[in-house]
């Protein structure tokens, strides 16, 4: 509820709000009704389209959900590896950017800026399709060329994002932290590892969790590129067989929304907790990287 825009309402404003509520509700309802009626008209609510997804008695139900379940596992697996690698490399990039001198930093910053401007889907495309051409063939690895192409593509992009997040986190700490650590005789590296990074991670936790949502969503991009059996590609298989695209994609969207919504709420809860804890120094840094993803 926005408090900036209006006062507590008096009788006239309350009446206006009531009228607005009725009209607004009617408009929203009308739009919904039209959509539902048209979908019903086209038979989109027919049981035969929904039953394989919703009714355990249907003959296809078990195999459909086995596909979806496996797809979800593959999605989570690719996301988990990408996130772990991105966090690790991102932290290294952040540390390098903070420790290197002004000139030594230039090539690193250039690479970071280039990767930040690159569309993820193209990075994934290049990694899945072109890495084998230059001798990086993951065929013998667990998961094969699709998994690792996807993972490397996602990592290339997200490591610079995590790098920015961690850098912003370290920068948000009061200078005294570093100065005190150096004064007690810790080396630069020890200061970073023992004093700055742990606090930075704490501060940036909400931003990091929000970025997890992005990685999770971006795994589905591989559906346009390769043959990795994640959730969306499995959905494609299912709807091609059962001819129920709207129903299948609804279920897939709901799965994504359930996971991502939970993660988002989790990030918000942590942010609120940190704000309440009010450790004056390390206020949670506003996320400057847009968590937009695809």
């Amino acid at each position: 509820m926005t408090s900036v825009l209006y006062d507590a309402q008096g009788p006239r404003a309350r009446r206006a709000t009531l009228i607005g509520t009725v009209i607004g509700a009617l408009v929203v309802l009308a739009v919904l009704t039209v959509v539902v009626l048209r979908l019903a008209d086209r038979g989109q609510f027919d049981a035969e389209l929904w039953a394989p997804l919703l009714s355990p008695g249907d003959e296809a139900f078990a195999s459909v959900w086995r596909l979806l379940g496996n797809g979800l596992i593959y999605t989570l697996q690719a996301a988990a590896i990408s996130i772990a690698l991105s966090l690790l490399l991102g932290t290294l990039i952040a540390v390098a950017r903070l420790q290197l001198g002004r000139t030594a930093r230039i090539p690193l910053v250039a690479v970071v800026e280039l990767l930040r401007g690159a569309p993820v889907v193209i990075l994934i495309y290049l990694c899945v399709r072109a890495l084998p051409d230059i001798g990086l063939d993951f065929r013998s690895w667990y998961g094969g060329r699709e998994l690792w192409g996807l993972v490397i593509g996602l990592t290339l992009y997200n490591m610079v994002v995590f790098g920015e997040i961690v850098r912003a986190g370290v920068a948000s700490l009061p200078r005294g932290q570093r100065e005190a650590a150096l004064a007690t005789g810790l080396t630069q590296w020890q200061t970073m590892r023992l004093v700055l990074l742990p606090q930075a991670f704490r501060v940036m936790l909400p931003a990091i969790i929000s970025q997890l949502v992005v990685v999770l969503k971006d795994t589905s991009l591989v559906a346009f590129v390769g043959n990795y059996p994640e959730l969306l590609s499995r959905g494609q298989d299912i709807q091609r067989n059962l001819d129920n695209p709207i129903q299948t994609f609804t279920i897939i969207a709901l799965l994504f929304i359930a996971i991502n919504f939970t993660l988002g709420k989790f990030a918000e809860a942590i942010q609120r907790r940190q704000a309440r804890g009010g450790r004056s120094s390390a206020t949670t840094v506003q996320q400057e990287t847009a968590v937009t993803g695809a």
């Binding site: 926005t2 408090s3 900036v4 825009l5 209006y6 006062d7 309402q9 404003a13 709000t17 607005g20 509520t21 607004g24 509700a25 929203v28 039209v34 959509v35 048209r38 979908l39 086209r42 800026e113 280039l114 930040r116 401007g117 690159a118 569309p119 993820v120 889907v121 193209i122 990075l123 495309y125 290049l126 399709r129 072109a130 051409d133 230059i134 949502v213 969503k217 589905s220 991009l221 559906a223 346009f224 590129v225 969306l232 959905g235 709807q239 695209p245 709207i246 994609f249 969207a253 994504f256 929304i257 991502n260 919504f261 988002g264 400057e288 990287t289 847009a290 937009t292 993803g293 695809a294």
Partner: protein
């Protein structure tokens, strides 16, 4: 880089095609996102609920799934248009949720004291909104909104991969599979094409950010 130089006209027309997707989606998603943001800050509960539903749904669904929904769903509710239309619509719907959140955060970032002071000196609702709240909100909104729009530029590649045709991504796939050039140089060319859009945009945004920056 013969893959690109041999097919320069294909790449140039793809570049222009991508720009047209971006241009259409920028205008439409800014308008739609602002309308949804207005819903979310309005005192009318059904509109607020609708706005919240809109943002929660679209922000948490992958763009690819939104695109599939548009391509399969819109014809079913009687909207039969070109694939280009479906692609851009999907991108606009998806981006509008992020635009909405950026705008809303901007409005909320104006401290209540500002509006209270405006009312205390006797400004009307429109005056206080137009002269006190919005000018400050807009300045706060610029950086996040800019990032959202630049992210949308990058996401236009997803629309290309989805297959709207006539854009940079499809120029790449054509050169790659139909004309038989190798993937790596072809798609590095595509990548550079997109960088020619996103990097200047990011530079421009940094300039604008500096100009509108305010000390609070």
């Amino acid at each position: 880089m013969t893959a690109v130089t041999d097919n320069l006209d294909l790449f140039v027309s793809g570049y222009l095609g991508s720009l047209s997707v971006i241009l259409a989606a920028t205008v439409a998603s800014l308008v739609l996102g602002t309308v949804i943001a207005a819903f979310r800050v309005s005192p009318v509960p059904p509109l607020r609920a609708f706005g919240t539903f809109w943002v929660t749904t679209l922000r948490n669904t992958p763009l690819s799934v939104v695109l599939f929904f548009c391509a399969f769903g819109l014809p079913e509710i009687g909207i039969n248009r070109s694939f280009w239309f479906f692609g851009v619509t999907g991108l606009v719907l998806y981006t509008s949720a992020f635009v909405c959140e950026a705008v809303r955060a901007g409005i909320n970032s104006v401290s209540p004291g500002q509006a209270e002071a405006a009312r205390a000196i006797g400004l009307t609702f429109t005056q206080s909104l137009g002269q006190i709240v919005l000018p400050q909100a807009l300045r706060t909104v610029v950086p996040p909104l800019g990032s959202v729009i630049i992210a949308m530029f990058k996401n236009s590649a997803v629309v290309g991969a989805f297959g709207v045709g006539g854009d940079l991504f499809s120029a790449g796939t054509r050169t790659n599979s139909a004309l038989g050039y190798e993937t790596l140089p072809t798609f590095l060319g595509v990548l550079i094409g997109y960088l020619c859009i996103t990097l200047p945009a990011a530079g421009l945004l940094a300039l604008i950010e500096k100009r509108v920056a305010i000390a609070r």
